[in-house]
């Protein structure tokens, strides 16, 4: 499939890292204004989002409803600061709109919803639903011979929802190769470490046993992520699960590894986090 010349795919890992960095900065800024939010998940998954939105997914900034666009589903709809930051970074929305995040009346809600328009393929947030919707979209594309692929970002805590495994069993049985789930394995849920709630390992084996092609990667290794996404695209008989291990708070030393689902972020911490990110930016430039 020929790609839109106005939306080139980024292949330079350093450029992708710069996109991730810019999104991290917006995540901190957006949550900082509110004083509380999903900052840890946003920092943790920024590298995943950079790879998906800039290196992997075929999207058109000027044509949100392009029928052949790759579909993106955020099953963890609360990771909204990062999602909206990614849309802005990719120029799918005007970056100025990030200032309306969680403002009453804004379409940029704390749980991403279809009020934002066609950029949001489904309203998740009630956890465990994204893979099913993605499966439906993948089946529709397969039947119609459409070239698009479907990407679902799934949280690890979400795997406690039974519906995830209904979808895993169906997609594996149906051999839906145009479906790719990225498990954001950040070991964090509302009550803290996932293993303190329910033990989830072996995660990769679970997906493999449901007849999925599985890639286990470091969720901050941009080269490895892009390679895994490329192998997923090459798979022809199975859906792919990319199990990406991430570190919550990644990129801001004093936030890294802090388990806070909906975490308070004081003005002082916000300023310190932005300062730390800006110092990195000077190194990256």
């Amino acid at each position: 499939m020929k790609h839109d010349p106005f939306d080139p795919l980024e292949t330079d890992p350093e450029a992708l890292a710069r996109h991730a960095h810019a999104m991290r900065r917006n995540v901190v800024r957006m949550v900082g204004v509110l004083g509380q939010g999903y900052v840890q998940q946003g920092l943790g998954a920024a590298d995943l989002f950079a790879c998906l939105f800039f290196a992997e997914m075929r999207l058109r900034a000027a044509e949100a409803q392009w029928p052949d666009r790759d579909r993106f589903l955020l099953s963890t709809a609360h990771n909204s600061a990062l999602f909206h930051a990614a849309l802005a970074q990719r120029r799918l929305i005007d970056p100025a709109r990030l200032d309306t995040y969680c403002v009453d009346g804004s379409q940029l809600e704390v749980n991403v919803s279809q009020r934002l328009g066609p950029l949001v393929e489904a309203t998740c947030g009630s956890l465990g639903q994204g893979v099913s919707v993605g499966l439906g979209m993948a089946l529709a594309g397969r039947r119609r011979g459409a070239p698009y692929r479907v990407y679902v970002v799934l949280g690890d805590g979400e795997m406690q929802e039974g519906q995830v495994w209904e979808a895993a069993m169906a997609a594996g049985s149906m051999g839906v190769a145009n479906l790719c789930v990225i498990v954001d394995l950040n070991f964090m849920q509302v009550e803290g470490h996932t293993d303190r709630v329910l033990k989830q390992e072996p995660v990769a084996d679970k997906w493999a046993s449901f007849n999925w092609h599985v890639e286990s990667v470091d969720g901050h290794d941009i080269g490895a992520l892009c390679a895994a996404l490329a192998r997923a695209r090459a798979a022809t008989d199975k859906p792919t699960a990319i199990v990406a291990t991430t570190l919550v708070g990644k990129g801001v030393a004093f936030l890294e590894g802090q388990l806070g689902h909906n975490m308070k972020l004081s003005p002082q911490d916000t300023a310190a986090a932005l300062q730390a990110l800006d110092a990195q930016a000077e190194v990256m430039a």
């Binding site: 489904a122 998740c124 919707v133 439906g136 089946l139 209904e166 169906a170």
Partner: protein, 334 residues
């Protein structure tokens, strides 16, 4: 030692249809297939109840457009929403309970909220199954009514199934089709009946009372009206095949014309047609004598349909007694 002797290859196993009814036609399944031949968007989803939902004909004729999701209704509803988002028109099939009570959140978030063009087709409405409380949908209308954007259609009998399928397919948005399979071979004088979503169908005229009924209760209401006519009481019977959006104009006009209103549904008296009519009358400021015939806020049990209908008051006798009680009561008191 493994002593299992069951065949282990899918093709070795013969599938019996435990719901097979011999010469009884598949009126729903044929209607869906007919609609699908004319509209390439229509796809058919099943959850291990393909023969029981009369979709085996679809499966055999249009296999690329048929998806069996197994016994996993939550996933099926979510996938249906995703398909609709990509231009398909899924008709999703299972029993009413497993289409509403079980995957309610998925229906709400992936079908009702985005106004997905999904038709949820539930079978075994109310007490029409001997499979007991697990399979008896007595609150499915209440659940679906509470969802914004959801239309609810229950055809009144075999003669209205085809029209209901056509109307659902023509309706842009989510529809809950409450479907009861044909139970007997079609009579020689079989004639189909039309259906316009949102418009009540007057089946009998009479000035002494009006019965708003849906589904299987329409014929029972007509039977009751015939019995009452023999005694000189004239009762209107309106087939409210669309429970949502309700034909409020018809409800108000008929209530004002007769002053005596009874609803009849194969469903709980809470949240279904009776509630919808009561809300409409109260908000319109219409004072009428009023009673609901339905399952009176109780679970039922496994049993034959005639037995259960009689036991739980879904009968012409109970309708007659209810109307007699209203006629014998001064307005404003019970």
């Amino acid at each position: 030692m493994n002593t299992v002797t069951a065949p282990n290859r899918a093709e070795d196993i013969k599938v019996g249809d435990f719901t097979s009814r011999g010469a009884v036609p598949r009126v729903y399944g044929d209607a869906l297939l007919e609609a699908a031949r004319a509209d390439a968007r229509i796809v058919c989803l099943s959850a291990d109840l393909t023969p029981a939902t009369e979709t085996d004909g679809f499966r055999d004729e249009l296999p690329a457009r048929f998806h069996n999701f197994g016994i996993a209704e939550a996933n099926m509803m979510g996938a249906a929403g995703g398909m609709a988002g990509c231009g398909e028109m899924p008709f999703v099939h299972t029993f009413c309970v497993f289409a509403t009570r079980r995957p309610f959140d998925q229906v709400a978030m992936q079908i009702a909220y985005p106004k997905a063009n999904v038709k949820i087709v539930g079978f075994l409405p109310g007490l029409t199954t001997l499979l007991g409380v697990s399979h008896q949908a007595i609150e499915d209308i209440a659940l679906m009514r509470a969802l914004p954007n959801m239309a609810i259609v229950e055809p009144s009998g075999t003669d209205q199934i085809r029209a209901a399928v056509r109307a659902a397919a023509a309706h842009d948005g989510p529809v809950y089709l409450r479907m009861q399979r044909a139970a007997a071979p079609l009579p020689a004088d079989f004639r189909e009946r039309g259906l316009v979503i949102g418009r009540g169908e007057v089946r009998r005229e009479g000035g002494d009372a009006v019965v708003f009924a849906c589904g299987a209760m329409v014929q029972i209401a007509l039977d009751a009206a015939a019995q009452l006519a023999a005694r000189g009481r004239q009762v209107s019977v309106v087939n409210m095949h669309t429970i949502k959006p309700l034909d409020a104009d018809m409800v108000v006009a008929r209530a004002l014309a007769t002053g005596v209103v009874v609803t009849a549904e194969n469903h709980s008296i809470i949240g279904g047609l009776g509630s919808a009519v009561a809300e409409t009358l109260a908000e319109a400021g219409v004072g009428a004598k009023f009673a609901r015939v339905g399952i009176r806020d109780t679970f039922a049990e496994g049993g034959s349909t005639p037995y259960l209908f009689e036991k739980y008051g879904l009968s012409a006798a109970n309708l007659v007694a209810t109307l007699d009680r209203l006629w014998g009561t001064p307005h404003g008191r019970r």
